[in-house]
Symmetry: C2
Subunit: 404 residues, 2 copies
């Protein structure tokens, strides 16, 4: 770790901000600043800073802590992830500028990124819990996925750049978190699992399901060995900042060269988690059906936008080396693997250490167990039957036929 | 490139050898040395050096040239591959010491490795052309494959070491050679293709076969993205030094983290190339059948030894994370992918820039075209029907049913 490293605090942030030339256009010399620590993730300090005189002049400071915040300093975590995140944001910003927060600078001495304050946006997960629809989200995220994944892969990058990028984004510690929490612990007894008691029988049955564990092991192997594209690595609805017109993907500190399907599956899986939660969350059946239709239509739309945008990449590549039949097989295995990866992401959120508010936040025990059970049933079906999927509608039809 | 780099010559080798402390136990100070340049590969200088007084005291010097020797200095090639080769030899020597030449030292300033002179061994390809059987080869190479592949994979290495090794063995220029010469050029018109005129109709038909090109594209994608194990990367019978009792794998300068099946397929594919050549090479039908049976039995035996040795790795890993059904699926896709990779290696050797003596060395035009045609037919069958293979015998049965 850098010798100059020290965690910032609300007290020290203003002096730090004033010391940086990169922010002289934003803030006047020594003007009064307000600051608030707002980090609700597990791994970092996050400060909002704004001018007392004009709160529209504002930035966010994100600083990596050398341990997992959720657990404490007994779980150390290298700060190299801050470099990875800054580098991934730079790559993504070149490919889909409207969907990446603007980065002012990265300070490698204290593992800190200063970026745009997305003040007019909320974490998508919180919006979905409240039943808010985001009409532009599916289009935006389909575009984000096609460009950030397709254009960092061997389909577009020359052989040398691709391989140098693989080395640059080697991210062992953060990958290990995913390997453990997404692909290992939920499917066996593990001390860190945190499911609610009422779903224990279903969890134990799932953990005893040999066929399911074979499928999970195959997904884990792909995650660990398939260096296909620079993936975000943690693209759940808590990493999306949205409003009615904009969509931003934030927090790519888990980025590395991995399977495209892990990102696509993360989005789809989290929309299905929301879908499962709205089995009980919305009291009025009409609103419920309407909101769930919004969710499933978003899944269909985001895949269709992804496919359409990805086609522009196929149109650029050499059709002799990449014949049509190959392109079809490639897109089909993306679809099927996305179902499998999404399923693992769903199961970990119900069974594993880091749950999601959509389901764990349901107060009534009975209702919560209905939502959790439905989520596990959808995930199991998506994982086991993924080889039968040929269109995105197949995933939606199977999921919506599931019962708690 | 290092500023001290200069290519050695037979004249400068003795002084260099005497200047190195690492060789003081081998050669006496300033004793008379003989030297000969023996490189017959495409990329390097290779010198044998021995004591004039006692020729059993001998070493080999292998120095990377900054261009492809076969083509000349119009095709520059980074000397970083010498570092890769020395590092790969060190990893392999720890895992299968009897099958790796002893390395005395690597000199990073002039990209030179000094190693054991395998004076009592010949290049296996040359022996096979003469119809010589190597009874221990299959057992040795099965062991080599299981240990070097299995024990550099995620099955054995901890998460961090594996990922650091991936970065350390990033090898863009040498991978690019394989991407072009094995997976791209043979299947389309390419200036560097060098097949004999008499098989042109078959080559053109193969290049027009869309279904075949889809399969090749999938093999190429695996080669480029599947960071499964530290593979040798060029394990044809010209990279094996053998005699009746020993087997050595040499020249791992193409090493990188890639698919295990590429190495396994390279060995199998080159044995099938020999098999195809002995359709015409051996005049006496009895000897022919006998030698070809040796070749196919070697293929079966090396896979069986590989499988048995790999089982010792499975026995060490956690059976809950790696259930039996997963292990079976893993070995099955290794078998099927090895058939596909081996097929591509066969086709490139008949159609592409770097041919093999087994077939291109046949003087009679008619006989040569029979062997080449049979090799292409076996390769096409192995590639297209690989998903039907469940046992190693299935490959052999299909191949031996092929006709020129």
């Amino acid at each position: 770790m850098s010798e100059k490293y020290h965690p910032l605090s609300s007290e020290t942030v203003p002096a730090y901000v004033h010391s940086r030339l990169e922010l002289r256009q934003m803030f006047e010399k020594d003007e009064a600043l307000e600051t608030a620590e707002v980090g609700d993730g597990n791994l970092n300090l996050v400060f909002k800073v704004w001018s007392k005189a004009d709160p529209t002049r504002t930035v966010v400071l994100k600083q990596a802590l050398p341990y997992v915040r959720l657990v404490g300093d007994s779980w150390p975590l290298p700060t190299d992830r801050a470099r990875i995140e800054a580098a991934a944001l730079a790559v993504q910003a070149r490919l889909v500028p409207p969907h990446i927060p603007r980065v002012y600078f990265y300070d490698p001495e204290i593992y800190l990124t200063v970026m745009q304050n997305l003040n007019d946006h909320i974490i998508m997960r919180k919006g979905l819990i409240q039943g808010i629809k985001y009409p532009r989200f599916a289009e935006h995220i389909g575009l984000f996925l096609a460009r950030t994944l397709g254009r960092t892969s061997d389909l577009v990058l020359d052989y040398k750049t691709k391989k140098e990028q693989v080395a640059r984004f080697i991210n062992p510690e953060l990958c290990k978190i995913t390997e453990d929490l997404v692909f290992t612990e939920p499917y066996r007894y593990a001390e860190r699992n945190r499911y609610h008691k009422e779903i224990e029988p279903q969890v134990l049955a799932l953990q005893a399901d040999e066929a399911l564990r074979v499928e999970v092991a195959q997904m884990k192997e792909k995650f660990m060995t398939h260096a296909q594209a620079l993936i975000h690595g943690d693209l759940h609805t808590g990493s999306l900042m949205v409003n009615q017109t904009d969509t931003y993907a934030i927090d790519p500190e888990f980025a590395f060269y991995g399977p495209m399907a892990f990102d696509i599956g993360a989005v789809i899986g989290n929309l299905f988690l929301s879908y499962a939660s709205h089995e009980v969350r919305t009291a009025d059946p009409d609103n419920r059906a309407d909101f769930r239709r919004y969710l499933t239509e978003s899944i269909i739309q985001l895949w269709q936008v992804f496919e359409r945008e990805f086609q522009t990449i196929w149109d650029e590549v050499d059709p002799i080396n990449m014949p049509k039949g190959y392109q079809r097989a490639y897109m089909l295995s993306l679809l099927q693997d996305s179902a499998g990866m999404g399923a693992c992401k769903m199961m970990r959120r119900v069974i594993g250490l880091a749950g999601v508010e959509d389901i764990r936040g349901i107060e009534d025990v009975h209702e919560r167990s209905i939502a959790a059970s439905l989520a596990l049933n959808i995930a199991t079906a998506l994982l086991k039957q993924r080889r039968d999927f040929h269109r995105i509608q197949d995933l939606v039809e199977l999921a919506t036929a599931c019962r708690p």
